[in-house]
């Protein structure tokens, strides 16, 4: 059942409407009363979650008898951004994922944010699916703030992602959807995978299976589940950042999600005018490349790769 979560009038004969698709299981013999929310599309240039929402909706719609509880799917928290290939909300300066929990006394965007929080609040689990931006490709991963790691890691393991990145807390992140929901007791997992403006079906299929596995573990799903892989957890491991030191075109030589040794080549930056190599980019540590640059033009400082180091690098 399609429901409106938030709505506001746009200038000319149109409303912005944030919708969700609610699936209520018909397995009424043992109603769990549980609710899981799957949300995506805060950033309008991140589309990987579109595929997951569509696929999950299709599975649930055809198997309601196997569902015990409620699954709410929110495919587009920033519908105008997705529609216009805009990362933020058009005509609004701030990143939508920096205005939560919102306020009903604020701008239109802040009012929408408050309505979204109100609607998701109280769910047993919320999964917030992000892609990377257009510049970087990410391996499927769950990102968890260190202050909620103990509580969330057991659920994150159920999602079938390659690894779980437990990152340090930062004040600026306190205005994200995930932080806001976790701070009011609604457990929220952030998934990052793929690249902006594209859909990687392999990753989407895997995450959909992972969400069904999570539902099964919560006692909400009686259908078949594919086994999920055991993720690597970043705790006690260093994450190495590789930034370009030069401006030019980045040509990768290392493969995404491959092992690399300290000093091995990640790629090179070349000058498009002269053809000269401006920089040979190398890995700062032994590990696995979980982030790799997708967009070729770089300035000094552009992120080239992130390397998940071994335990010895902690």
């Amino acid at each position: 059942m399609i429901e409106e979560v938030a709505k506001a009038g746009l200038s000319v004969n149109e409303n912005i409407v944030i919708k969700k698709n609610r699936y209520v299981g018909s397995d009424s013999k043992n109603p769990s009363g549980k609710r899981v929310c799957v949300v995506t599309g805060i950033h309008g240039d991140e589309l990987e979650g579109q595929y997951v929402c569509a696929k999950l909706a299709n599975v649930l719609q055809n198997n309601l008898a196997l569902l015990n509880g409620t699954v709410d799917i929110y495919p587009a928290l920033n519908p105008l951004g997705i529609d216009s290939i805009t990362r933020g909300i058009p005509l609004f300066d701030l990143d939508m994922n920096r205005i939560f929990p919102g306020t009903n006394d604020g701008t239109m965007a802040e009012c929408l944010a408050a309505d979204i929080i109100s609607d998701i609040s109280g769910a047993d689990i919320c999964i917030d699916i992000h892609s990377s931006n257009i510049y970087l490709r990410e391996i499927p991963q769950v990102r968890i703030n260190e202050i909620t790691a103990d509580e969330l890691v057991p659920y994150a393991k159920m999602l079938g992602c390659d690894f779980i990145w437990i990152h340090a807390s930062a004040t600026v992140l306190e205005s994200t959807l995930a932080y806001s929901l976790n701070s009011i007791g609604t457990k929220t997992l952030v998934v990052e995978m793929g690249v902006g403006m594209r859909i990687t079906c392999e990753y989407g299929d895997r995450l959909t299976d992972g969400i069904l596995n999570l539902l099964k573990n919560l006692g909400m799903w009686k259908g078949e589940c594919k086994p999920v892989k055991e993720p690597i957890i970043s705790a006690d491991r260093a994450v190495g950042f590789v930034n370009s030191g030069a401006a030019g075109i980045f040509i990768p030589s290392a493969k995404h999600w491959s092992h690399i040794k300290s000093g091995d080549a990640v790629g090179k930056v070349i000058d498009p005018v002269t053809g000269n190599v401006e920089e040979y980019v190398t890995s700062p540590c032994d590990g696995i490349i979980f982030t790799l640059r997708e967009y070729p033009i770089v300035y000094g400082g552009s992120l080239i790769a992130r390397i998940l180091g071994g335990e010895e690098n902690a």
Partner: protein, 308 residues
């Protein structure tokens, strides 16, 4: 006056971007003013350029105080300005959300780090700021409350209003916030223009900054005029939202005083021209902020009002 390149960034396709600072006087790092960090902050750059011009004359007349060094940075992001973008040219990030910066980080983190290395350590810092909401403001000075900067110093600008803002999480990566963490008494100064040059408010801003410098012994001359500043908590402003979307026609402008029940604006249907709603004043007040676009959404903040 000494013109210095504070930070330089290479591009594969453009001439390098050199962030230029103008230094006056010698001695202790006393006063730093930063202008445009976003590509549309033309007024903010203009104010700084006028300040450079005035300080150049003052320096040649020996009016910069002894043992005081002043730095003015008119534009920290002319790459975006030259191509008509508000945020960073390639990845659309905001330099003013990257402080204190990181010299081994991403491009705008490196730019922020380069700027911060040059601006930290000054006793006083002023940023010519612009706001994320579209509209006209009364010129004012704002202090982000971190517990470091002395509130009373805001009166030295002689602007009609001064505001104290409680920082929100996204404020913690701005220049103003980090300046204070590194023990600079920092202020944000807002004129009533961004994309366009408004001469009267630019002159007001230049005079206000010079008045502050005079009051704190940085320059050896008096700047006449100025207001008795009213200090307000930002939370005391009353926000008036639009209950409907449509074409917005305001009957008041910034600075206007109104009475409860006065009609502030009307919203008309953009297709048939009928008046959908007239918005009346909920109480007596002064228009501090006015939305300035013809089209507005439902829930748009149309006015911020100083209650009287």
């Amino acid at each position: 006056m000494r013109r210095k390149t504070l930070y330089s960034l290479r591009s594969p396709y453009r001439e390098s971007m050199d962030i230029i600072g103008f230094q006056f006087g010698q001695g202790e790092k006393t006063m730093c003013v930063v202008g445009a960090m976003r590509g549309n902050e033309v007024q903010q750059m203009y104010v700084c350029s006028q300040l450079v011009s005035r300080l150049k004359d003052m320096e040649s007349s020996g009016l910069i105080a002894d043992n005081c060094e002043v730095m003015i940075i008119p534009s920290a992001n002319y790459y975006s300005m030259n191509i008509g973008k508000r945020f960073w040219t390639m990845d659309n990030t905001d330099i003013n959300r990257m402080f204190p910066g990181y010299d081994l980080g991403e491009t705008t983190q490196r730019i922020a780090a380069g700027i911060f290395e040059s601006v930290k350590g000054y006793k006083y810092g002023v940023q010519l700021a612009s706001f994320y909401q579209q509209g006209d403001f009364l010129p004012h000075v704002k202090l982000m409350e971190t517990g470091f900067t002395d509130h009373e110093l805001m009166k030295c600008f002689g602007l009609p209003f001064a505001f104290i803002r409680k920082p929100r999480p996204y404020d913690t990566t701005t220049l103003n916030y980090n300046w204070q963490i590194w023990e600079t008494q920092a202020f944000s100064l807002y004129t009533n223009a961004t994309d366009n040059i408004d001469e009267p408010s630019a002159k007001l801003a230049v005079d206000a900054i010079l008045r502050f410098m005079s009051a704190n012994g940085v320059i050896k001359t008096k700047i006449p005029g100025g207001y008795i500043t009213e200090m307000l908590d930002e939370k005391s402003l009353l926000q008036i939202h639009s209950p409907v979307a449509g074409i917005y026609k305001s009957f008041v402008k910034t600075g206007d005083e109104f009475r409860k029940g006065d009609i502030l604006c009307e919203i008309t249907d953009p297709l048939d021209g009928s008046v959908i709603r007239q918005i009346t004043a909920p109480s007596d007040g002064i228009v501090f902020f006015r939305y300035n676009r013809p089209l507005e959404f439902e829930k748009t903040v149309l006015y911020k009002v100083i209650p009287i």
